[in-house]
């Protein structure tokens, strides 16, 4: 593999890892809200969270650009606060991947937390532990397999993200050219097919690796629980 191809792979890995890092905490919080919040507005929240899953990614990218573009109010505000633009930077790749992958993470967490027996949380409260301590000591550890699965899904989705990325982040070599963007670009140039094929192989291998990792973590968790 050439240095340029390695750079593409390395950028993709960094983007996917950053995407998981920034979406894990909000994913846990939203997943918990969706599983435990008893309020009519919960259905609305659920709808909004799931929206990126059903929207065409290009549309999601367009909406993000409308929000974070360099001449848009939020984009300008962020520029004034941090001195950095979001659109057409590596940060934009992370934002696009995080938003598109967020429903997968939040939904995994929600389902895992729904499976936690609420009576265990009740017992914890009557034993003198606050809602937060109960969450930390009981709910979160018991839904850990779901959280891990959600992180893996979000990571894998970030590796494959194309539509929203190309709109929000563009196709800048070394900065926003992730594996899918690079494959698309290579297929449009003469003699690019060999490089594209190599990147496709890497992509398949990385996805398989992520899945195996999640299976392994799940099995380990089950072994730990059964002893």
């Amino acid at each position: 593999m050439s240095a340029a191809e390695l750079e593409v792979v390395w950028l993709s890995l960094r983007v996917a890892a950053a995407c998981v890092l920034v979406s894990a905490l909000p994913g846990i919080a939203i997943g918990w809200l969706l599983a435990r919040w008893q309020h009519p507005l919960r259905a609305l929240l659920h709808g909004v969270v799931m929206l990126p899953l059903v929207l065409p990614p290009v549309v999601t990218g367009y909406l993000l650009l409308a929000l974070l573009g360099r001449s848009r109010p939020l984009g300008r505000l962020l520029y004034e606060l941090s001195g950095m633009h979001v659109a057409y930077t590596t940060t934009a790749c992370v934002v696009a991947a995080a938003v598109v992958g967020f429903p997968l993470l939040a939904e995994s967490v929600r389902l895992a937390m729904l499976a936690v027996d609420r009576r265990l949380e009740d017992v914890s409260r009557t034993l003198g532990r606050s809602r937060l301590a109960t969450f930390w000591r009981v709910t979160l550890p018991l839904s850990l397999p779901g959280l891990v699965a959600g992180c893996v899904l979000s990571f894998a989705r970030a590796l494959g993200e194309f539509g929203a990325t190309i709109v929000l982040a563009g196709n800048i070599e070394g900065e926003t050219r992730t594996i899918p963007v690079a494959v698309y670009t290579l297929l449009n140039v003469r003699d690019g097919e060999g490089a594209a094929a190599r990147l496709v192989l890497v992509s398949v291998a990385l996805s398989l690796l992520a899945l195996c990792g999640s299976f392994w973590l799940n099995a380990r968790q089950r072994r730990a629980e059964s002893t």
């Binding site: 009576r119 409260r125 009557t126 606050s130 629980e225």
Partner: protein, 360 residues
């Protein structure tokens, strides 16, 4: 311990509307399923928030609504043990026991060691909770609740999910806890022998209302008025006069009438005075003829009065002396013995299965 509870709470079409005060120390709440027992416990524990509530345990007011406070469950200091042990499945027995704030120090203290010995949990400490037996789990759940040092221990049918033998074991432990640690308890049950064995004061709940309150034995004396008879019906509750004591064999004989006597564990009640005894229908065996070489002290001449098929078990009502005993049998046993109404049989009851519940 003074306990004062006034609650109004609606769940769908069911309304719980109760008011009672009790000095305990062990208060039994007695009622059929769907009488509101569990809702009552959850409201006291703070897990549901009734529209109107006044809850006072000892010196502290836990809820005063509307208008006043309603403490969250973690500030009420009422540990709850339900019929499912609900141990935290992802950690060890020790982690579960040390769960409540301050419980680790308490477990390490002499009082904690005494509790651990009483509930026989030392050998379990290092184990995970998933492969404990049902009885072990319930003992750990009890210890975990007590290590939270609750001002009042709430028990929601703590023996309901255990088989008869384990249920007796847990009931015995609760009696010991009451005697040794003097833990105030509020427990709900639909088993009359359990209420009689444990409660000092009893509230009968019917359709979300208090139907009666008083010492369990006084309530038992007028069961029909309370609908208690129908709940207690499957087991054996008898009031029998003392015939004679036999201290050397540790037995007191009670008159069943018609020259038949029931051997019960030795008690101190004066001759001729009636005592209440209870035993489970599971503990009555039926034989066609008087067996030889039997350890059980009671082999009572009986006649089958009725056989009621209840799903996959048969409840046999046996006439013994002037009383009726109930035995729980399998349909297979009924077939094999060719039991029929009117047949003469022998009813076997172990002395230790007979619980002397008190005088009166």
């Amino acid at each position: 311990m003074h306990l004062e509870i006034r609650l109004q709470h609606r769940v769908g079409v069911f309304e719980l509307d109760v008011g009672f005060a009790s000095e305990g120390p062990v208060l039994g709440v007695f009622g059929a399923s769907a009488s509101g027992k569990t809702t009552l416990l959850h409201a006291i524990a703070g897990l549901v928030r009734p529209a109107r509530a006044q809850i006072r345990v000892g010196e502290s007011v836990l809820a005063q609504r509307p208008g006043g406070i309603s403490l969250p469950p973690e500030q009420r200091r009422l540990a709850l043990v339900s019929q499912d042990p609900l141990l935290f499945p992802h950690r060890s027995v020790r982690w579960n026991l040390e769960y409540a704030p301050g419980a680790a120090q308490r477990l390490a203290s002499p009082a904690g060691a005494r509790l651990a010995a009483l509930l026989r949990i030392e050998p379990l400490l290092a184990r995970g909770v998933r492969n404990l037996s049902g009885g072990e789990k319930q003992r750990v759940a009890l210890a975990r609740a007590l290590l939270a040092e609750p001002t009042l221990l709430l028990l929601d049918e703590p023996t309901a999910s255990l088989d008869a033998e384990l249920a007796r074991d847990v009931l015995g432990l609760l009696q010991e806890l009451k005697r040794e640690l003097r833990t105030p308890m509020l427990f709900v049950t639909h088993k009359a022998p359990e209420m009689l064995a444990l409660a000092d004061d009893c509230v009968v709940l019917e359709n979300g209302r208090v139907a009666a309150q008083g010492p369990p034995l006084a309530l038992l004396a007028r069961p029909r008025a309370l609908g208690v008879a129908s709940l207690a019906g499957v087991d054996n509750l008898l009031r029998l006069p003392v015939l004679r004591h036999d201290p050397s064999s540790g037995v007191t004989f009670l008159a069943l009438g018609g020259e038949v006597a029931l051997a019960a564990p030795l008690c101190r009640t004066a001759l001729g005075v009636a005592v209440s005894v209870g035993f489970y229908a599971d503990d009555v065996l039926v034989c066609l003829e008087r067996p030889r070489g039997l350890s059980a002290r009671n082999a009572l001449a009986a006649r089958v009065r009725r056989l009621d098929a209840l799903g996959h078990e048969v409840l046999a009502e046996l006439a013994v002396g002037e009383h009726a005993l109930r035995a729980r049998l399998t349909p297979g046993a009924v077939r094999e013995l060719a039991l029929a109404e009117g047949m003469a049989v022998v009813a076997i009851v172990k002395t230790s299965a007979v619980h002397v519940l008190g005088e009166g």
